[in-house]
Amino acid sequence: MGYNLKKELKSAFDAPPPTRKAQFLSQLDYPKASRTQFIISQLGYIRKRVWILSILLFICTLLGIYFYNVPTSLVWGVSSVLPFISLVSISEIVRSTTYNMEELEMSCKFSFLEVSLVRLGILGVTNFTVLIGITLILMGKTDLGLIRLGIYLTTPYLLSCYGSLFAINRLKSRETLYICGGVTAFVSLLNTLLTMQINEFFSERYWVHWVISFIILAALSAKEIVKLIRKMEELQWNSSLTA
């Protein structure tokens, strides 16, 4: 049956407009929770290790810059550590599966998708803040520009994100987290080995490779995130009555 019929069917059941709607809804007493309250409530559910590790990395970078004046090695060092930040965030995503919390989370007032997206949003903002902070600090110490430094730091991070999300979207077991850990360790090691093996890895010569890798990995990560969201939408069973 054509699309037009479905569209027409929608209006075939139109009722005369209600007259007391606004008055009733304004007087209706129901449990309300604002979006801000919801986001703040989710902050408490993110494990302390995420915050501690993010702060530790930030402090370590500051100390590294203060004690050692070897900017280039610092870039690869930081870019090798950054994937571990992504691992900590990824562990939050798989936590529901690991500890069989999905059913509990799905039966709560907010849908599973909303809860997960809010937590992912908070983690994303945290990671981004750490990343921007480190990039700005390193920028002052090296000759590299903001974009260039940003790409050097985020490409291994994105590779780790993509690898972990790829595993999460295709596997559903308690061992997924270990696989994500393996992916992160591999990315970190690969970054270190490439830096050691290839001379001038952070030079102009390989700049195009970095940019292409960054674009491809960003696109692939985005694709996996969309896939993850679609998977969660299937679990949207409950409803909340908040405005």
Binding site: M1, N4, T19, F24, P31, S239
Partner: protein, 157 residues
């Protein structure tokens, strides 16, 4: 978040209006549905599904007819087309829909006017998902036949 109360009010009202065909009564039943829903705090805190809201509305409509002994009236009004000329939508479709059995009409309303998922419809109508699909196909086939008889199919395919 999730449920937009304004939107749900319209949808429940539309559902009640479809059942009782009276603006005032439909609105009374809609408001009673929400009051009953929010009185069941245990359900709200556990995030009871949307179908629960419709179940309350459905039961209230049934109660209304039981109390006023208007079961026959419901059948006649659902099949009739007294209100059709009131609205500016496609009359042919409205008329064709009004000739369908009430359960198929309800199904079409829930699916296309109120945009509910198959699972939710199955819960509201207390039938299986498979039965929902089967009835939807049947409703479409009947609708198609009626429209073809009326020579309106050119407009909808």
């Amino acid at each position: 978040m999730s449920i937009n109360l304004q939107d749900q009010y319209d949808k429940i009202y539309r559902y009640c209006y479809f059942k009782v065909r009276n603006r005032q009564i439909a609105e009374d039943l809609t408001q009673e549905t929400f009051l009953k829903y929010f009185n069941q705090t245990s359900y709200i805190n556990r995030g009871k599904s949307l179908s629960y809201l419709y179940t309350i509305a459905k039961n209230l409509c049934i109660d209304f007819y039981r109390k006023s002994n208007r079961e026959e009236g419901l059948k006649e009004e659902v099949l009739g087309n007294d209100d059709i000329s009131t609205f500016e939508t496609n009359l042919a479709i409205r008329q064709a829909v009004s000739t369908l059995p009430p359960d198929l009409q309800e199904l079409l309303l829930l699916r296309f006017a109120n945009e509910l998922g198959i699972n939710e419809i199955a819960n509201i109508m207390k039938i299986s998902r498979f039965a929902v699909y089967r009835k939807l196909n049947k409703a479409f086939d009947l609708l198609k036949t009626r429209l073809r008889e009326e020579d309106f199919l050119w407009d909808i395919t």
